[in-house]
Amino acid sequence: MFEATALNRRNERVEWLWKVLFLLMTLILVVPVIIILSVLVYKGHGAITWEFMTEMARSGGREGGIFPALVGTIWLVGVALLASVPLGVASAIYLSEYAPDNWFTRVINLAIINLAGVPSIVHALFGVGAFVLFFRFGASILAASLTLAIMTLPVVIVATRESLQAVPRAFREACWNMGATRWQTIRRVVLPNAVSGILTGVILEVSRTAGETAPIMFTGAAMFIPFLPQSVFDQTMALSYHLFIISNSIPGVAEETKYGVALVLITLVLAMNALSIAFRVYLRGKKKW
């Protein structure tokens, strides 16, 4: 009675075919990228030596190392985080703990979506118009970092809001019933339970910020500076911009050097990203409620 009919068998074969087809489509997206990344590793690993990472660049990046670009990227990311993490966390606390469900909150959410969707070059124009020209910061780490901070603000907001909302409502109610104010509840109960999720978002933001090029091109990144930045009002080299410059604008850079810089940048970005993902998976496994 339950034997497979010819129709059943045909259906099974058709279904198997579809499954393989969709698997192939997935592989077509993923495999070329993996091959490309392997090419980067293959052609670039030879350039990466201790001297490459720790020496100053010489003759426009043709010789020497990438130390000033590495240090510059750390400056840019650090200052951007100082601006965007407090603001992003405050924004997420408002949206998760205070905001009523009305049109105004929807407008805020729409603004966040658009902030993430505005092209990076438009953020760069904003950085030039606002920070470089209007506030007279000039092309500097400060102007570049603030531009980056605004661009990556949605990353912090979304990650923080998600981890705040993952804290059960019962935790808050228990605290309110003890007579705590809303802020006491947030500070002593909600934030401690969400802090690791927020950290995941911050790591993700580091990865995003370090890789961005367009927003810093005219706001503070320099083609070649033979010394390290001393303050936030200096211009600086940056890893991402350095990659663009040596592959597009400076003639006579050895191919291995270009691939080396690309490899360092992508390793940095993907490592931070993988760390963030691993942290998230670990937290999900540890969750007690």
């Binding site: 969709f22 603001l87 205070y98 658009n114 092209p119 809303r182």
Partner: protein, 322 residues
């Protein structure tokens, strides 16, 4: 800023009435904690509206810088219909048509390449793959989305260029094809993720009902899941379009950067974003050229705003229905 009583997370109201207030006097304190609470309420409200302020600020500042051009040398008809972008000539011309066509052709090719595969990958990850395979694919897709655009540009400039030259025998492998493939690979992870979310949002009861009627997995996907998720899938494609449209570094490096109306997919083009990136460094603040580049920025801002807005409305539409 007063917390709205409609909020889901409001603390319980304090007991009402004069007698109750006298008895529960401690609930009506005006101590340090109370003032701190009010102060924090204001601080986080400022944080909450910051996104709105920034969006308005972006529009205000790029418009402010663009004004010198819009009310000066701009000729609306020339801007949208002339393919001659010659801002540095003795008699400068500001026709953005070639740039608009350039951006449209690259984005179009990118979507042609990546939409079918992204949706296919979303179906495989969401509907066929299970357990470890599914989780690893999702992580992989997330990592692909994290590759910086300058690295994609580098890949187009160094690797894809040679590949196209070898395979098709064209003299220069930079152009629509190169930039289109690169953009397609860039946009695919985002589209896959959002499309997979849209598929996941279809309730399992739909699938179970269809399965009970004897439908095969593929029939369920085609006849039940796709129709139910079509808005979310459309939203995913729109966000992909937005990403491709606004991408800067990859297009700058992979498209060849020649200002012309393209005749074939091997032709080199110049995109709107790439023009700003390439020319802004050479212009003096306040000059017509400077203003013209900011005007291109206004165009980019408005179009991406519309794309994001419609994607959001479409996706919210399905959420409400469910």
């Amino acid at each position: 800023m007063h917390p709205n009583p409609a909020s889901q997370l409001d603390p319980p109201a304090t007991p009402a009435g004069p007698t109750a207030r006298a008895r529960h006097g401690s609930l009506h304190r005006r101590d340090l904690a109370w003032y701190l609470d009010k102060a924090v309420g204001i601080v986080v409200f400022v944080g909450g509206v910051s996104a709105i302020i920034f969006i308005l600020g972006i529009f205000a500042f790029i418009t402010k810088e663009g004004m010198t051009f819009i009310f000066g040398d701009m000729n609306l008809k020339e801007f949208f219909t002339s393919p001659n972008w010659r801002p540095t000539d003795a008699v400068p011309e500001y026709g953005a048509l070639a740039l608009i066509v350039g951006t449209a052709s690259v984005t179009g090719l990118a979507m042609l390449v990546s939409v079918p595969f992204s949706l296919g990958a979303a179906v495989f990850i969401g509907e066929f793959a299970t357990g470890k395979v599914r989780e690893s694919l999702k992580v992989l897709v997330e990592l692909l989305a994290a590759i910086p655009s300058v690295v994609w540009g580098f890949i187009g400039f160094m690797i894809m260029k040679e590949l196209i030259e070898d395979v098709f025998g064209v003299p220069v492998g930079l152009g629509i094809l190169n930039a289109g493939i690169i953009l397609g690979l860039m946009a695919a992870p985002i589209m896959t993720t959002i499309a997979e979310d849209a598929l996941k949002a279809v309730p399992d009861t739909y699938r179970e009902a269809a399965e009970a009627m004897g439908a095969t997995r593929w029939q369920i996907i085609l006849k039940v899941v796709f129709p139910a998720a079509k808005n979310g899938l459309l939203g995913a494609v729109l966000l992909g379009v937005g990403r491709g449209f606004g991408e800067t570094m990859a297009v700058l490096m992979a498209s060849g950067h020649a200002i012309q109306l393209p005749g074939s997919i091997f032709d080199s083009i110049r995109a709107l974003t790439a023009t700003i990136a390439a020319e802004l460094g050479e212009t003096a603040a306040g000059s017509p050229h400077h203003g013209a580049l900011f005007t291109l920025g206004i165009l980019l801002f408005v179009v991406t705003f519309i794309i994001n807005l419609s994607a959001d409305l479409i996706v919210r539409g399905i959420r409400k229905k469910n």
